[in-house]
Amino acid sequence: MPRTIARIALLALTLAAPALAQSYPPDGPNIPVIANTESAAGAFGQPLAAPPPPKAWDRESLWNMKVEGFNDNQGRPIYQPLVVDQSGRELLYLGNLAGDMLNPLTGKVESNGTSIIDVTDVHHPKFLFHIPGPPGNVGNAGAQMVRVCSGDVLPHGEKGKWYLLRAFGNAGPDESHQLWDVTNPAAPTFISTIVSGLSNTHKSWWECDTGIAYLVGGSKADGWHQSGTAQHLKIYDLSDPRKPVYIRDFGLVGQEPAADIKTTHSCTSNPGPNCYEGAKNPPAGVHGPISMGPKVNRVYLPYGVGRDGVIQIVDRQKLLTGCTLPTASPHCATNPTQAELLYPQVGVIAMNPENGGHSSMPVLGVPMPQTQAHFANGSPQKKDLLIVSSEDTANNCFGQAPHDAWILDITDDATPWPIATLTVPQEPGDFCEKGARFGAHAVSEAIYPPYYGKIIGISWFNAGARIWDIRDAENPRPIAYFIQAPNKNTVASCATIHGVATCHNATMNDYVEFDDRGYIYAADRAGSGVTILSLTGDALKVVTPPATPQRH
């Protein structure tokens, strides 16, 4: 009976959100309208149960979630999952970290690349194809990032076609970004290399309705300055996937090739020519942008990954057209002046050196339950939010401060300001002794119903996929988690602490993502596969539309 209720609730979720994901970024210009479903008491009107202790380290632990399906991804370690409603099928694209593994479909050992899994029937996911990654030195390999657009949506795409954008290689002498035709997901075909000769690639964003692609990459030869990873934005027009058009490079002030990093100074303490943004000179590289498209006209950029972070919000139109202005310098696209980098900048906030910008996910128009009346102008208040995470990079919590996530109020996006912290306590669970990493990683990126503005998912490595109720954004509530048990494909995580080397079989949730049916995908970085989940119990109530919305 409970299973029947859960299915009915899931069906209600889908019916309540008939608009397809293709209406929203990155596929369309609309932003999901978020209805207030709480009383004025907000989180304090909800049950405030603390997360229950997880089970033993080698066992699966679930809280308000249920396992619906699983695929082992051929034992390849996953970086990023992307779920696409593709011509009536739900397809899961997985960007994999570097390595080599047998592909049972071909009988060949293949360099880890991009996996394509049909998850239309979540109970029986079907592995369709693996597009290999770069051959050769595994240290340069992997294809961690993936985006997909429909030719029906791209302005100059071929109708009926589907296109895949991916990083090809991670860090090496000749990394690139590629386009593939995935119209037949069981037999993808290579289209073109957009840009090569990069020394780093990372997480890109592709606006399907305009074709604008914000590629993350860089090369040590391009002259840009970054602490840590050598990567900034390389913006292309891929509205016709067969004819990529370069637009410009972009980064933080202090990263431009013309910056004299030996004499540059902090823009915060000493603004003016030749300064750098944030706490680190030169500023750390960008991780992964999110554009909300031409309607919202904002691009959100996290820099630093796990340290020396800066979060930047830019005006999309100014970003794309700044170097076409009559006043633009001759080399604005590749070697902009400080003024040309500042021109599209709307807001910026520096993090402390212990934290970096890994994800910055905009959640716009969230009704604030406690300010639905009698505040500000007397009208019901909504806020624009940015969910920011900093990536933990140490095993066993050794040598690093804890890495968390935060909710920033960007209603005035010139002055982003944190209003809440999303954290997972080390206890119960003894996560620092469990092995592998413990801390925040990535924020879910689904800008479509049924979950947008209601819940957010954040991967927390060995503490699993964690879900928060963010309807009362100043008082977010943890409501669900899933911690995968190690399996035969889980690569051990080893650490040497005070001279003692130890290895643990521990899973590491790398990304948690939602599809437009309400299923949740927990992708494992340690090679343990991808688990498909649904919400149950109190977590399901959070996302189930009430019979009568409670407005006050």
């Binding site: 380290w57 080698d58 080599d100 780093n200 990536e391 040598g399 190690p486």
Partner: protein, 135 residues
């Protein structure tokens, strides 16, 4: 520590860890090499190369590399090779991490049913660059 003494200690460790090593195809999703006691004893962290490992064990069951974000994750040990095997205690993986110079940085024989908690002891090169950051 003199090289010969270190090698002897490493060998003794793996003799103790791997009483009856034998390949069991049923546990492996791909072809894997047999792992035997004598071969394990020949692996010396800090000295044995990738070629040496291949000569001892053949091609690995799986190769992994977690160079995500490049320098943003300084000092994480890089390439990892895994072999599968089975002994009287059950199935296990031989886990070998390499330093950037291509020599073994860390080696461990890890039971698939490792209970967690205490984890599994590993042998690590004496000049490990940064403690606590290997992956």
């Amino acid at each position: 520590m003199p090289r010969k003494v270190f090698a002897a200690l490493a060998g003794a460790t793996f003799v103790a860890l791997a009483p009856v090593a034998a390949y069991c195809a049923g546990d492996a999703p791909s072809a894997a090499a047999a792992v035997d006691v004598q071969s394990l004893a020949k692996v010396v962290p800090g000295h044995t190369s990738k070629a040496g490992i291949t000569a001892l064990f053949g091609k690995p069951w799986r190769v992994l590399q977690f160079n995500d974000c490049g320098e943003a994750m300084d000092d994480q040990a890089d390439e990892t090779w895994e072999y599968r095997g089975r002994d009287s205690s059950g199935s296990y993986r031989l886990h070998i991490e390499f330093s950037d110079d291509g020599t073994v940085h860390l080696i461990a024989k890890i039971p698939d049913n490792s209970p967690g908690g205490e984890g599994t002891a590993a042998k690590v090169a004496p000049s490990a660059p940064m403690p606590g950051m290997s992956m």
